[in-house]
């Protein structure tokens, strides 16, 4: 089940956020219940360490509480909260790395985890694809997740990540291109278009 939201859900979330801005804890709890699964899934895809994910989620929710009155309705509540989560995750990962790499470089680093047993998996294209998607860089995993699982439009991703829409499309193109290269390297013929 994906996390696509209906128009009615979006309107309800706006009302809840307005109540949160007035200090309503029940509204805050209800907003949490509505957003926690997609947010948690998003952060798990990016950060992958459960303890750190809960820390980032905690920071994100506290920021929602503090900033609720500043939501201006120029995006959906969902997109606004994801934007906060994105920036918090990037910040936390930067601290974790404790390097002088800038954000762009850090985001572009591919996962250094164990390489899947390509030959053993090559008969199962979907499993292989899933493992290779996990090896993509932070920003490539993020764009695939937001488009495919969260079902964000180009504009919603642009808003959440504070990027121009054309950069969103280009980033997705390169993420998919990189996936093709990894498939090719895994012995899947004709993966690179």
């Amino acid at each position: 089940m994906n996390a696509a939201r209906t128009k009615a859900e979006g309107q309800t979330e706006v009302v809840l956020l307005q109540r949160v801005a007035g200090g309503d804890r029940d509204a805050f709890a209800e907003l949490y219940r509505r957003l926690q699964r997609p947010l948690f899934g998003y952060l798990m895809k990016l950060v992958r360490d459960r303890e750190m994910v809960e820390d980032v989620l905690n920071e994100t929710l506290m920021e929602v509480w503090r900033q609720a009155a500043r939501f201006e309705g120029r995006s959906s509540v969902n997109t606004w909260v994801f934007s906060i989560a994105h920036h918090r995750a990037v910040s936390r990962l930067r601290k974790k790395r404790e390097t002088a790499l800038d954000e762009e470089q850090a985001a572009a680093i591919e996962d250094e985890g164990p390489t899947p047993d390509m030959k053993a998996e090559s008969s199962d294209m979907s499993r292989l694809l899933g493992k290779l998607m996990e090896r993509l860089s932070f920003e490539h995993r993020e764009i695939l997740h937001l488009a495919y699982y969260q079902e964000f439009s180009v504009q919603e991703i642009a808003t959440a990540l504070d990027l121009p829409p054309n950069t969103v499309k280009t980033r997705m193109f390169y993420a998919r291109q990189r996936l093709r290269v990894l498939l090719e390297e895994s012995g899947v013929e004709g993966a690179v278009a």
């Binding site: 899934g41 500043r70 002088a100 079902e151």
Partner: protein, 230 residues
């Protein structure tokens, strides 16, 4: 969401094969506009290469969905833990939208969400002066617009050529203190607050970014986070 589909741009009236290739991931999730769909489908009917790309996009999407099934959710006591922290968390006020509103808080007060008491007005004026001297007066963008964002008026070199930082200030940080720190760094606020409450700070061209980050992080009483901007 009122309408989360991509809006048809002028470019969408003449999508090329590369444009279609870029849009396929959104086509498979139903996030392309009807105008884009018509063109995508026209291209698809004539291009085996695009058909293969579409099949791949669908497979990628399915793998994304399948991969989330075992992802789980936060601990059962997570919400209570967060609720327990709300007491000590200050909620910021809304951003005033009309700079001509005599009752609206001062510029810095609006920027940082503080109440506009007479004492704070004085501090705000002092902070404004300090930054104006540094050539980084902050003005609200497009006076009557509802954007609620800000940019520097007299420091175009910062926004155009200098490096940027993303800074989050403590909610209770003093305005004069912030102005003082920014002055020390020859820095100015270019825009903000961003959706997460952070501000884009512009440094002068050639400024030592690592030094600026370290200096800002050194003011832990004012600054909660610093990241490199674009």
């Amino acid at each position: 969401m009122s309408d989360s589909r991509n809006t048809a741009s002028p470019k969408s009236s003449a999508l090329g094969e590369e444009d279609v290739m870029e849009l396929l991931p959104w086509y498979v999730t139903g996030k392309t506009s009807p105008e884009e769909n018509a063109q995508i489908e026209r291209h698809l009917s004539a291009s085996p290469k695009l058909q293969a790309e579409l099949a791949m996009a669908r497979r990628e999407r399915q793998v994304s969905l399948d991969g989330m099934q075992a992802i789980g959710e936060p601990s059962p006591d997570f919400l209570n833990k967060v609720l327990g922290q709300l007491d000590g968390a200050r909620q910021w006020g809304p951003i005033a939208k009309d700079k001509h509103d005599a009752e609206a808080p001062g510029l810095f007060a609006r920027l940082f969400g503080f109440a506009s008491t007479p004492a704070l007005r004085l501090v705000a004026i002092a902070a404004c002066l300090a930054i104006v001297v540094e050539g980084a007066a902050i003005v609200k963008l497009a006076g009557n617009s509802s954007s609620g964002t800000y940019e520097t008026a007299s420091a175009p070199d910062m926004s155009a050529a200098g490096p940027h930082l993303i800074v989050q200030f403590q909610p209770n940080a003093g305005m004069a203190a912030i102005g003082s720190v920014l002055s020390e760094l020859d820095a100015g606020i270019i825009r903000g607050p961003m959706p997460d409450g952070s501000y884009v700070i512009g440094l002068k061209p050639g400024a030592d970014v690592d030094h600026a980050i370290a200096a800002l992080k050194g003011h832990a009483d004012l600054v909660t986070g610093v990241d490199r901007g674009s």
